[in-house]
Structure formats: structure tokens, C-alpha cells
Amino acid sequence: MAIKLSRSKKIRVLPGFKLTLGFTLFYLGLIVLIPLAAVFWKTSSLTWAEFWHTITMPQALASYRLTFGASLLAALVNAFFGLIVAWVLVRYEFFGKKIVDALVDLPFALPTAVAGITLAMLYSQNGWIGQLLEPLGIKVANTRLGVFVALTFIGLPFIVRTVQPVLEDLDPELEEAAASLGANRWQIFWRVILPMLMPALLTGFALAFARALGEYGSVIFIAGNIPMKTVITPLLIMGELDMFDYAKATALAVVMLVASFVMLLAINVLQWWTNRYNTHNLA
């Protein structure tokens, strides 16, 4: 026993390292990595020209524009309102605050299909909200605006939930210091609070954007799926799958995956940036 221990490079006090890491890697490989690798395997059955042709066909380009554009816009709107919601939840007291706080997570908890049919119903011509917008000449259902509305719903909690803890931990002394140096409330917000919140705000924005890019269930009901107009990229992939054209579907999936990986990288960098301030905070 003693010999065995001394042979291993490090003697670990706690047991189970090999077992847990081994299981983790096995399960990760089986469920996530091998199936994901299949995407690239399938893509290789296409020639480069075929691949390029597929991912640059007009329907695809239109879907990228819609998916990326609506996601970006939704994330921006969420960044603005999410910051206000987080601010209000952290700084002010009002009736029903706890319920409002819990409700913010609804888009996380509500299945996308339910959100999809509900939004489609609400914003249809004679829906609760749709009939209010109809006289103003605003059509939401079956338009790109509908895609934006669904993606805003989906991305709502991200900004609130990333900004909220940072705002809670913000040392009130910083604001007092700024005030004692003569800064007014707006200057304090603009020059002290916002820069401190910026990394969290950007992380939340990136998370909301990344989530919106791949979103499917909540969008397809309200979008109406008019070719070249309101078809998002995931739906385009779905369409190819329904026609059993797996190669085409996979080619489009590669584009989406690359976009997701870029976002994942960006989020990791942002989170590292957020922590940059915090690590030396202890001294």
C-alpha cells in the first residue's frame, strides 16, 4: 500500500479523483463530444464547393441576417431594460418586489413552446396586445418584429441576473467617495457605477445574444415562417431535416456552431475580465 502511494506523483488526501474524473470524461464524451463530432464528420461528405453553396444560398443569407439582427437588437433592448430592472430590484423597495424578482426567471422556466404559442396568440391581429398595436399600423405576428419580441422574452433574465449580484456587491463607499469629491448623482452613475457594471453588463448581453441565436421554440410560432422573410436559421435547418437532406442541414449547423463557439469564447473572455477586478480585491 505504502509503495503504491509513493509511486503516484501526488498523494491525495481526498479519494475518488480517478473515479469522478473518469466518469466525467466518459459521460461528456458519450453525450456531448462524440455526437458533436458527428456534425463535422457529416460535413466532410460535402465538397468545399457544395458546402459553400449551401451556406451562402439566398435563404441561408436571409436567415443569418434575421437571426443575427433580431438577436442583437433583442439583446440591446434587454441590456437597457435589464439594467433598469436590476437597479430597481437592488436599490429600491416597492410592493411585490419579491414576486417580481422571482418572475424575472420565467423565461428560463417556461418551456419555449408555451412561450411561443402564447406570444403568437398575444400579438396576433385580434390578440390582447396585437389589437392595441393594429390601429397604430404595427404588425408583430408573422413579421420580423415578432422574431424580435420572442427573442427579447427569451433573453430577458440574462442581463438582470448577471448585473444584479454585481450591483448588490457594489461598495456603497465608492458612491460616497465620489459624492464627497463633488460628483452629482448622474456623474456618479456614469463615471463610477456604470464602469463597474460594464463587464457584467457585457457578459449578460453576450449570454442573451448567444441564447437568442439558437432559439427555436419561442420564435417559430410568432414568426409565421415566411420564406426569405421570417425564417430563422434553426428553422431552415429543421426544414432541411424534414426533407431528409442531412448534408445541407449539417452545413448550416456548422455555421451556427461556429457562431456559438465564438460567442462562448467571448463570454469566457468577458467573465475573466469581470473577475479581473475582483481577484485582488482581497488585499
Binding site: 458527428a38 390582447w128 435547418i237
Partner: protein, 308 residues
Amino acid sequence: MTPAATTFHTPHPVAQRRSTTESPLVRRLLIGVALAFLSVFLLVPLVAVFSQAFAKGIGFYFHTLSDPNAWSAIKLTLYAAAIAVPLNCVFGVAAAWAIAKFDFRGKNVLLTLIDLPFSVSPVISGLIYVLVFGAQGWLGHYRDAEQPWLPWLQNWLNEHNFKIIFAVPGIVLATIFVTFPFVARELIPLMQAQGRSEEEAARVLGASGWQTFWRVTLPNIKWGLLYGVILCNARAMGEFGAVSVVSGKIRGETNTIPLHIEALYDDLNIAGAFAVASLLAFLALITLALKTWVEYQHARQNQTKMFP
């Protein structure tokens, strides 16, 4: 004196201009904007689900839910969640133990890989299993292969006509994939923050590995674990995109609750779709309530720890 003292409110609001708070007008404006935004995007949809569900009366509501296809969808959803949630739970605990209690190279890469399913579109999550197990995928190729590796397996598969895609196993797999990171990502930061000293102390006092886990680690992470399980379950029961790719949507057989909702909606049975949807909306509300309760418990536990 204490920092907490600064958060007290002055009993008599007088005309004092504090430099660290906003004027009442700005406050009310901001609260108004926040509540209006949340009402339009959250409250109204939530109310709408339930009001539409009962739009054709309570009789129709229960008629829709007792339909055999609805029943089959509910059972399939529960079945998939019952497999996916425990598996991901075990994985989450194992991954968190390995990552939080030991140092090894490539930890950050592993963390990123664990989060991967979150950044993959649901449709792609389904697609990858079609590519592996579908007729045109690896499994399909294997079944049609002239000279297969392990011929008995090929025979068995073909004799039993074992199907994964457009069948229940595919639905379970897709559900596992989309809910893969939930428990792990709740537990890893929690266990990292708690450090190793308590487990090491238990070991020094003579506890075995399992005893250490059951008596020291688990009580410390129970709220985080519960939290992860709640979120994992909500997503497992509500997943739509991934499941819709692999299910084949055979009514009464491979439809889950969300797919059944879509089917009813496509039939223009709007009230029926909302009746079934109200089940999932209700589940979402329970999830939110449980989540809030767990957060409260967790905060309380931390507080008593800090001030014994």
C-alpha cells in the same frame, strides 16, 4: 457605525438631498419603467396562458387533458425526465467533485466543454443525434454494412429493428443533452467556494471516502444540488427544439407534452393547445417558487454559518 446602518431609512423624510440616492421622482420613474417592461413581457403572457386554457370552459379543459394522446405525451415526458435528471445529477456531482476538490491541467477546458450544450441551438442538439443514430448516420451505416464489426450486434439490431431516432431512446438522449450542464454548473462554483478543508478534516478524523461525501460534502451542497435538479427538471420537461428533431412526432407514441402542444396548435385547436400548455406553465410557476424557496434556504444556511 456598522455598514448596515447606512441602509436604514430616515424615519421622517425631510428635504435632505442625499448624493447617493436618486430623487423620488427618478425612483418612481425607474420603478415604473421596470414594472411596465416586465408586465408586457412576463406578466401578460403568463396570465394569457391560463386564461386561454380555460377559454372554452373547464369541461373542455379536462376533456383535452384526458385525451389518450395527451396522456401518452405526459407519460413520455415524465419518463424522459425520470431518466435524464438522475443521470445528469450523478454526472454533476462527479464532475463537481473532480473539478472542485482536485487540481489538474485542462480544468478550464473541461469547464467550457461541460457548458457546451448550453451554447448549442436546440435544433442542432437534436441534429447531432440524428447524425449518429439516424438511418443516414453512423448507426444506419453500421446496420447496412456489408462486413460489419461485431456481426452479431448487427444481426441483433436488425432483428429487433432497434430504433433510436424517431423513437423514445432518441427523445431521452436529446433530453439528456440539453439538460447536461444544469446540475454541474450549480455545484462546481459552490463546491469550489467551499474549498477542501472540511473534507480533509473528515479524512484526518478517519472517515472513509463515502462517509466524507455523505456526511460532510452532501449536507454542504444540498441546496445547490436541489436548485440544479429543479432547473434541470424544468428544462427536461419543457424541451421542444431538440426533441422535435428526433421524435418523428407520432401522436400517442413519440410526442412529448411540448410536441403535443404544437400538434394541437397546428390543428388550430388553440384552446386545447393552451390547456396542455397550462400544465407546463404551472410547472414553471412551481419551479420558480421552489427556486425562490431554495435560494432563501441557502441564504439562511449561509447566514447562520457566518454568525453562529
